[in-house]
Symmetry: C2
Subunit: 113 residues, 2 copies
Amino acid sequence: MPKLRIRIEFDGHRSLGPGKIQLLEAVAEYGSISAAARSMEMSYRHAWEMLDDVNQCFREPVIETETGGRAGGGARVTRIGHDLIERYRAMQGKAASAVEEDLRALGRASSKP
Amino acid sequence: MPKLRIRIEFDGHRSLGPGKIQLLEAVAEYGSISAAARSMEMSYRHAWEMLDDVNQCFREPVIETETGGRAGGGARVTRIGHDLIERYRAMQGKAASAVEEDLRALGRASSKP
């Protein structure tokens, strides 16, 4: 059966889809933007820009960077960021359930059922 | 309030989102791939590749090209293609309804409510 992916469009320019959410989850897992970027095979710069874009979407930050300390800095997903990840995953599930019959029908019509 | 956009992933490679559906609608409106491409400010080649990709998703064609005739050929969205457009739009509505409360909450938290 085909899968449903969702994207949230905040205005004509900013949007939030599976890529940014996956990156946020990787930052939460590794505690570092560079390690998260490596895990997704993207450049640090690209990852930083994606995360900055997510931060710009909201009034409060979804990610905070820490400078200095023994580990030489790191990144932390805020409570707001964790809430966002959880909400996105829940939305993904609700949306997919709402169109399950359609996905099944598209699967039957597809060239690779 | 932010908007929800949906994408249908058929396998690791092929997917169907708002861009291809909009292009199919433009072909249905103009009866021509080149006119549809112009209306969306994309190259004929890009439009053709996108439509070919949609055709490859399904066992039956969603679009058919006509060669010759006084108009020098054209393109027609098949019944299957029209069904696909209609189903996608319906899915978009069902999915957005299922997450309406979440979209509202994201709107309240966004930097540009």
